[in-house]
Symmetry: D2
Subunit: 336 residues, 4 copies
Amino acid sequence: MSDPVRLRYRPETSEYAWTFGGVAPVRRVRPGSVLELWSEDAFGGSVRTVDDLPSRVTRFPFVNPQTGPFYVEGAEPGDTLALHLVSVEPSRSWAASATIPFFGALTSTPRGPGLQPALPERVWIYDIDRTRRTVTYHAASRDLAVELPLDPMLGTIGVAPSRGEVRSSLVPDSHGGNLDSPEVRAGVTCYFGVNVEGALFSIGDGHCRQGEGETCGVAAEAAMDVVLVVELLKGLATPWPRLESDTQVMSLGSARPLEDAFRIAQSDLVDWVAAEWRLDALDAYQLVSQAVETPVANVVDPNYTVVAKLQKRYLPAAPVYRGTHARLRALARGLG
Amino acid sequence: MSDPVRLRYRPETSEYAWTFGGVAPVRRVRPGSVLELWSEDAFGGSVRTVDDLPSRVTRFPFVNPQTGPFYVEGAEPGDTLALHLVSVEPSRSWAASATIPFFGALTSTPRGPGLQPALPERVWIYDIDRTRRTVTYHAASRDLAVELPLDPMLGTIGVAPSRGEVRSSLVPDSHGGNLDSPEVRAGVTCYFGVNVEGALFSIGDGHCRQGEGETCGVAAEAAMDVVLVVELLKGLATPWPRLESDTQVMSLGSARPLEDAFRIAQSDLVDWVAAEWRLDALDAYQLVSQAVETPVANVVDPNYTVVAKLQKRYLPAAPVYRGTHARLRALARGLG
Amino acid sequence: MSDPVRLRYRPETSEYAWTFGGVAPVRRVRPGSVLELWSEDAFGGSVRTVDDLPSRVTRFPFVNPQTGPFYVEGAEPGDTLALHLVSVEPSRSWAASATIPFFGALTSTPRGPGLQPALPERVWIYDIDRTRRTVTYHAASRDLAVELPLDPMLGTIGVAPSRGEVRSSLVPDSHGGNLDSPEVRAGVTCYFGVNVEGALFSIGDGHCRQGEGETCGVAAEAAMDVVLVVELLKGLATPWPRLESDTQVMSLGSARPLEDAFRIAQSDLVDWVAAEWRLDALDAYQLVSQAVETPVANVVDPNYTVVAKLQKRYLPAAPVYRGTHARLRALARGLG
Amino acid sequence: MSDPVRLRYRPETSEYAWTFGGVAPVRRVRPGSVLELWSEDAFGGSVRTVDDLPSRVTRFPFVNPQTGPFYVEGAEPGDTLALHLVSVEPSRSWAASATIPFFGALTSTPRGPGLQPALPERVWIYDIDRTRRTVTYHAASRDLAVELPLDPMLGTIGVAPSRGEVRSSLVPDSHGGNLDSPEVRAGVTCYFGVNVEGALFSIGDGHCRQGEGETCGVAAEAAMDVVLVVELLKGLATPWPRLESDTQVMSLGSARPLEDAFRIAQSDLVDWVAAEWRLDALDAYQLVSQAVETPVANVVDPNYTVVAKLQKRYLPAAPVYRGTHARLRALARGLG
């Protein structure tokens, strides 16, 4: 095994992509490449103090700027793209969050409208301590600081959609996109079905951490330094985004209402278990019903996202996705 | 502090309750009492082998038999009933699960009907090993046994509903009921708002474990020996069921669609955090948005249930519910 | 055919029922009886001027007072109760509507909560002109009166629920209840499956008219004089409420989310068409798909209600429900 | 007023568009132009007999071929495009419908999945009689023909989406698209907010008729001859598709779950009424609540669609959309 190709890329502001699909690739990469990327935060870096209200300093729909898309050589519809996240680290010393009028899970929104007035807009700035691995919240209404564990993740990751569609980087769906799941962290391999030649993947929307559901619609948003490995699995289809960690396999469903996101994630996991561990559908349904963990990811985006997770230790070892995760994990460890 | 009153109660078959509300109490208990109870499994104990198909051996709606209701002396509308679960242990060596026609999350149902034929009905019998703390699944379609951790819990726990309603023991709602959440395990204190004089609580539907979502609609169902302590908090209202463990506070929302269960749980937790830690609503909303864990409980019952959990260690110590959990935890340790 | 038995009944305030199920019957009636009833409005008659804010003059849950329940002799589970509405006429010269805090389709509610403040509470009083058959709206924010057609209907009608449940008169479900559909008007026969001995039906919540969806949650509420005929169809089950007019057959589904109410209504109509016109399920599905009318009834109650309607003239004549509607229609014409 | 410009256009198969957005315009047109168009049916004309199963003769996602897009000179974001449908007439003597595996409201689907097997695939061919204005259904399971009224409409009509998105012609949303509403018939003016320069509108998916909800997912699909007039309203925004007929104004909401489509349509109608008839929001909410008609349009597409309709006769005359409908109606009458 030779040294992997390494590509370093930091987009200019003019190079940001705002959609999945519909954008020319910024680079072509070969399967096996290691990418060292930087991604700007969801606000385009414009929310830096509690006075930078998003409605003033951002220009909708220019949120969630994407780093990419990358054209993966040889990728064709019917293949699976594997992206192994080697590291995801905040590149600044602070993160920003906010309440945004008519956005979030505990307010009416344009797609679930009502007649009540908007909640106030407010910004919170979090301090990041990379040594202590904390991200600190400061209340506005009293003198209270809360240290939370630093748990960096990518809110958006995905490929160009199918059917010739182009989707905003605010949307999660079967192509990935704005999944807003805390499971998308370093050490995980992400699998996406390829819909167009070259796959055209991109990443962005880094979070220093987020609660499950991203209740107010905005996480602790931060620019991120990301190292990832690109792999291509020819002739292997993946219907919905899947993740694999050292300990778990996960299916991510995105839809509305939330129970349909749940159904997608659970039935994809049932299919996966049935295929990998050679059970019939009912046996897999039963096993998943007793063993699955099901954290909500987001209930704020145009589709909501639910994760279905299974501990690999419960089951006999199986060469999931041709052993890709173990191989990329080893490669990552060798990167130094 | 004197020794608590202890009451042992094992219902006769004729004493089972099938609803929350609408049933005369089986016993009167004083706040501070320790109850040693037994509850039959969801199938009334009638599914014992893989040939005992539920559609043949149970008579709908006679599922989820309740042990209770218990009349708590002094309980009035506007109070909170606290039930501390000291222990929940399977009372037999096996548990049963099944797929039931037109029941579960991955099938059409009478309330989400379609024209497709039913899935096959099948029973799985699990072995319980209380020493090794395992519950073992056996596949029907191949020779595979899977050891899962034993994690006993109560599927149903709650009080009589408000508005003079009587609800089936299949229904979760603001009165508790069929919450089907794995968080309802030993070591946890459950808080319920009292709707009628005496509160009239009951328990049942023990699970040796269940996946989050209870996807096929049936957990590893088992009769349970349960020890719990009853406490009453006068003049303190609780709008939706809440749980407290040594490490977490939790709100449970039950509704359809699933996003409304999510909204109930999240907004109740926001209210709770705002009240206990004296933050304004927006500050609490922000903090919960970054810190909350949100496992799905069930997506199969007449209402779906979502849990919103917060680590207590993130926040300064606060005398949640007047310190009830710590006090009952200590009492439980002293029971021997 | 002898003259039908006629029963006149006007409840005292103390006789109102607030639930379906759980209440002793006020009268026993024989199938074939004609009932001349009066029902109070949803507010218990307490909202009479624009200054009578419901939050002040009503005492929740004491809304939707029911006239009944009536015990129908011979009715048993598995039978169908037919109620033919001969006339539904407002008994006063005015009707009342309102916006109520955290109630209605365009606001957050306790079961779909958020953090926004409540909409203002406001009362509108409508003038009823029975000669011109109008009900007149008066704007508060400008000098505008709008004459709308008088179209009296019953918001609540139904029987005791199954499974031993007792449901608030605010709830629509398979037992009927708070369906809030404008289709429940004079000239229509309503069919309900009987769940308990005597059926125990009641009526209430008269509306001088309502929009489809009852968007703000409150119609033009009015006390009503109601004449209806009671009929019993032995050994004939009805899974969800159905209506028959001179021109249409209708199925009413109640559930959340709204698409499940739609699915219930459509699949019940498909089943009905397949049974009455001897088509297989796919043929009935296809025909309904092209011919059905589907007005929304309510999107504000604990369950939402959708109506699926089919013109009878599209199909060969069939003795729907044993010809009950035609027979009761003739009887009604003979009442004078 | 001079004679309007008339443009006749019939696309070649190679010219079909399959998305809204992302396609170069086939023609440029001036506001005021009359277009005489032809659109192929949803199946691309390939389902002609009961043996032409869609899964065999169509190639997903190549359904709902669009005629267009048309670039409207002068159209810019913030304007409103008005399309007045002068006539919509089937161009062949038959129409086709079908059940399609895992598609429709009464089956599991890829976005609401389960484990049940698919419903059978079946085709129905309808006879069109343009003289008698009927479209005739033939049952497969017995000898029954049902004459239904011919009521031709366009399933898809809309403009390029906002945010740089490209959406499949199967999707309805704020840009219009696959609304699948029977209200989109001859005599109606459709209003769409313009999102991109030139608006880029297209039409397609003709139905000889459909039930409200399009329950099985497929209407009586037919190629159509369409005459329409294009008008542009500068500086007037339209948030969601609106329709105006001689008698009614209508708002169309598209979303999931269905109650959110309802909320969008109702709140848009409330806003419209408040603006045109100068009522405050609560007064408009109240009036709409009593007067609105709310037919479901579709419960089968990626978003579901609900219509909120108000009789114009209820209200004082108002120059809705600057009197566009009356003007285009007059123009249409003059076309001969």
